[in-house]
């Protein structure tokens, strides 16, 4: 490699130097139609995750609006129970499995994490691309189901026996179960990529102790995904077996058990809440630090809290099952655990207050959304304290009170931070800053509409309205509150339209951002916006938690990586010392083809068990194509290396 030329730091990378040209050529993604499908760069895949997930958010939002329209008056005849049941199931499943996790965990994680680590690409980029296509496959299966009147109609947690073979004829519940397989394999794939990236591709010097909080949280979430998602795959897998090949796991007449399903599902289901919320908290920590113009207060307590949340999150699942009549001792234990998990979240809140208090708050648009998060999530968290108490939970469980609660938690914990994050990283993704005025309109319309709709639902729950009813009697006096709740939809819709307009407009004609429009500390802001295909001209090194704020001007940069092949640096998990150089496998169409064959096998297995043996050979062939080494001649190994 040429070392004669002067070494240019990352923050001066204009893409003009010879090194930049060589790297750009080496790291180029192929163009054209098939090139689009063989792209493996994390920024592209991350944006695709986000855009796709947002499309499904809008679709599920349309379903929500339809439900609010149906409930606008008692005994409304807009739709019957058959359609309504499909719609609320689709709304819940889409929001959780096709929007919240793919957006908050996969989307933001895949885009931001490698940049924050100072890496050239995510670890296992092909697995990452495969995960994206598999997620799209699952989404198409679910929505294809709805379009063909095969939309699941058993609720987003599909309790047996209602979702079992005896009470859900046809393939509706199969579609739901198989969608779970798709999306969970996708999330697990990304979890492996992100955890490996965070542990092994951090810039030299970024010890665990100096890792940005966002990386800590992504690491914890990846671990939670790895340990929680298998439970739901087993739950939905056993359900599929019961439905398709006649096993008896959930058949009480043959020694099966209906509560087993609930245990398996909620063992995943509660950690899932934190898998959705922690990315939001990660974004908020990043924003609070940046817009308070000071280092985050309480780095260690926040990290410890996040790790604690990861652990305690696995010991509270039974609070979704209080109404099944468990022994009192276990009820008390799970009440205590559910209350305990408030503490780490409380610590994070207090640290954010302290950071703002002693900082200099610049209330730019992303920070406005962060304040929206504080308000909304706080209400959701506090009503969650009520739900941890067994007697109260027995009253409001499965009512609109719970619906209100988890919308405050999930919209507060995921959607508000998501908008904050989109406005924050929009300049990095597009090179332009999103319009602040439109953004404020978006915020206030959405915030007001959201509170009108969902605060009202608390009252409906206390007045005894169960969830998942397609209609109600005028004698129950629920109609005025329902009307009020439905009216908030107008504001939310308007807000979202403003957001879409803002995105489309600012992408083309927003203010030019430059490398670091917010003056943030993360490594992702040291490269151009949008980042080049190789991310960093030189892999940086860091000497503190907030690299761009505290690194001295002569902070070393890494040299010696080859620029004729896609070489990346692997560092030590704990102290981030350079360990060896690894080659990025580069773009490939095979992950897409593998996702196609796997999807075909999954879908086919709904209709016949023979799909598995028939589908296996193509899957193996595509996986071989993916993994078989090819391309350039073997890199010359250093003497004595082997």
């Amino acid at each position: 490699m040429a070392v004669a030329e002067p070494i240019i730091p990352n923050d001066q990378d204009t893409g003009q130097s010879e090194l930049a040209h060589r790297l750009a050529r080496t790291w180029r993604q192929s163009g054209g139609f098939w090139g689009w499908f063989s792209n493996t760069h994390h920024t592209d895949i991350g944006i695709r995750f986000m855009v796709t997930a947002f499309i499904f958010f809008l679709l599920a939002g349309i379903l929500a609006a339809m439900m609010r329209l149906q409930l606008i008056r008692p005994e409304n005849s807009l739709m019957g129970p058959d359609l309504y049941n499909q719609i609320f199931t689709m709304h819940g499943s889409t929001m959780i499995f096709l929007f919240a996790v793919p957006m908050m965990f996969q989307g933001f994680g895949v885009y931001v994490v490698p940049l924050m680590c100072g890496a050239r690409n995510i670890a296992f980029p092909r697995l990452n691309a495969f995960s994206y296509y598999l997620y799209v496959g699952g989404a198409l299966v679910l929505w294809g189901g709805l379009l063909t009147n095969t939309g699941p109609d058993v609720g987003w947690f599909a309790y047996v026996p209602l979702s079992g073979p005896a009470y859900s004829p046809g393939h509706r519940a199969d579609i739901w179960s198989q969608m779970i397989t798709f999306t969970e394999v996708s999330a697990l794939g990304v979890a492996i990529c992100l955890a490996t990236t965070i542990l092994r591709h951090r810039a030299p010097g970024m010890t665990l102790n100096r890792m940005p909080i966002l990386l800590w949280e992504k690491l914890v979430i990846s671990m939670m995904v790895i340990f929680a998602m298998p439970a739901v795959m087993i739950a939905s897998g056993l359900l599929l077996l019961d439905r398709l090949v006649g096993t008896h796991f959930f058949n009480p007449a043959e020694g099966g058990d209906v509560l087993l399903y609930q245990h398996l599902f909620w063992f995943f289901g509660h950690p899932e809440v934190y898998i959705i919320f922690l990315p939001g908290a990660a974004i908020i920590s990043t924003l609070v630090e940046c817009f308070s113009r000071r280092r985050i207060f309480g780095y260690t307590p926040i990290v410890v809290s996040v790790v604690a949340t990861g652990f305690v999150g696995f010991s509270v699942w039974v609070h979704h099952m209080f109404a099944t009549g468990l022994p009192q001792l276990s009820e008390s234990f799970f009440t205590a655990a559910s209350l305990m998990i408030v503490i780490p979240t409380g610590v994070q809140f207090f640290c954010w207050v302290a950071t703002i208090w002693n900082g200099r708050l610049q209330l730019r648009l992303p920070m406005l959304w962060a304040f929206g998060f504080f308000f909304v999530f706080l209400i959701g968290g506090l009503s969650g304290v009520m739900l941890a108490s067994v007697p109260l939970d027995l009253q409001v469980h499965d009512t609109y009170f719970v619906v209100a609660h988890f919308h405050y938690v999930l919209i507060g914990g995921a959607l508000f931070p998501m908008f904050a994050g989109i406005y924050f990283w929009f300049p990095k993704m597009t090179g332009r800053i999103a319009d602040e005025t439109l953004g404020k309109w978006h915020f206030w319309l959405f915030f007001i509409g959201f509170n009108i709709t969902f605060f009202t639902l608390h009252f409906l729950g206390l007045r005894g309205m169960p969830r998942r009813v397609y209609t109600y009697s005028p004698d129950m006096h629920w109609h005025r509150l329902n009307l009020l709740a439905s009216s908030g939809v107008i504001f939310m819709t308007a807000g979202l339209l403003v957001f879409l307009a803002n995105m489309l407009r600012s992408r083309k004609s927003g203010e030019i951002a430059g490398n670091n429009p917010w003056g943030d500390a993360g490594l992702e802001w040291s490269v151009s916006s949008p980042p080049p295909a190789y991310n960093f001209l030189h892999i940086p090194t860091v000497s503190g938690r907030d690299p761009l704020w505290e690194d001295p001007p002569d902070q070393p940069i890494v040299v010696g990586l080859r620029d004729d092949i896609r070489e990346t640096l692997v560092t030590h998990s704990l102290d981030a010392d350079p360990q060896y150089k690894e080659e990025d496998p580069g773009p490939s169409i095979w992950p897409f083809l593998a996702a196609l064959t796997v999807s075909a096998t999954f879908v086919g297995s709904i209709f016949t068990p023979w799909a598995v043996p028939i589908g296996a050979p193509p899957v193996i062939v595509t996986l071989l194509g993916w993994l078989w080494p090819r391309g350039h001649s073997p890199a010359p190994r250093l003497a004595g290396e082997l």
Partner: protein
């Protein structure tokens, strides 16, 4: 852009050109990914074990109205699993040397063991003394052993692919590390296989 200090040239560098381009053992990223993968699969097995014991509490007799699975093939497979650790360990030890001939031999023996285990597994299915449609107990036994067979076949294919690769010049660098990681995965298959044997052949008799 910059509202900040004017750019400063950075003369200091960290030269990594001398670092190796392949790592064995826990330093390898694929090794780490394999650990995560085993954690995922291990969780799946753990959930199935939990299912097994949970369903046990819902039944007074165990196995409910069946003979326990016949021991012969189970014990045979347990022995095969235990012995197969030797070639697996050998491949892992020899992989860093880059000695393709030795690796080829090791992988061939490992693949043979996997093949024998798969063949015995086919007979195991015939001596379970139940069908999956009989009751919840039978369903659990079948899914446990079926899940493990899936892993066994995956491992068999992976070993065969590496074996074929070891005839070509592709078997170098990071592929050598893959051969070693393949052995780690085989240990996982062995450990889960033995655990399932204890569940299927042991607890059905003593629980």
């Amino acid at each position: 852009m910059s509202t900040f200090d004017p750019p400063v040239p950075r003369p200091m560098t960290l030269d990594v050109s001398g670092l190796p381009s392949v790592a064995f053992g826990h330093r390898n990223t694929t090794w780490l990914a394999n650990v995560f993968y085993m954690a995922i699969e291990g969780m799946m097995f753990a959930m199935m074990f939990a299912t097994y014991f949970y369903l046990r509490t819902r039944s007074t007799n165990w196995p409910p109205g069946h003979l326990p699975p016949a021991l012969r093939y189970g014990i045979a497979n347990a022995v095969v699993f235990l012995v197969s650790v030797i070639p697996a360990r050998w491949v892992a030890k020899r992989a860093p040397s880059g000695d393709r001939g030795a690796i080829r031999k090791g992988l061939l023996i490992l693949a043979l063991f996997a093949l024998i285990a798969t063949a015995i597994r086919v007979f195991e299915f015939t001596t379970l003394n139940c069908r999956w449609t009989d009751d919840a107990y039978s369903s659990t036994i079948w899914v446990l052993i079926g899940m493990h067979s899936g892993h066994l076949i995956t491992e068999l294919i992976e070993t065969l692919v590496l074996f074929v690769m070891s005839f070509t010049s592709k078997m170098e660098g990071t592929r050598l590390a893959d051969a070693a990681i393949n052995s780690d995965y085989w240990y996982f298959v062995v450990v889960t296989g033995l655990m399932i044997d204890v569940l299927i052949y042991g607890t059905t008799r003593f629980l």
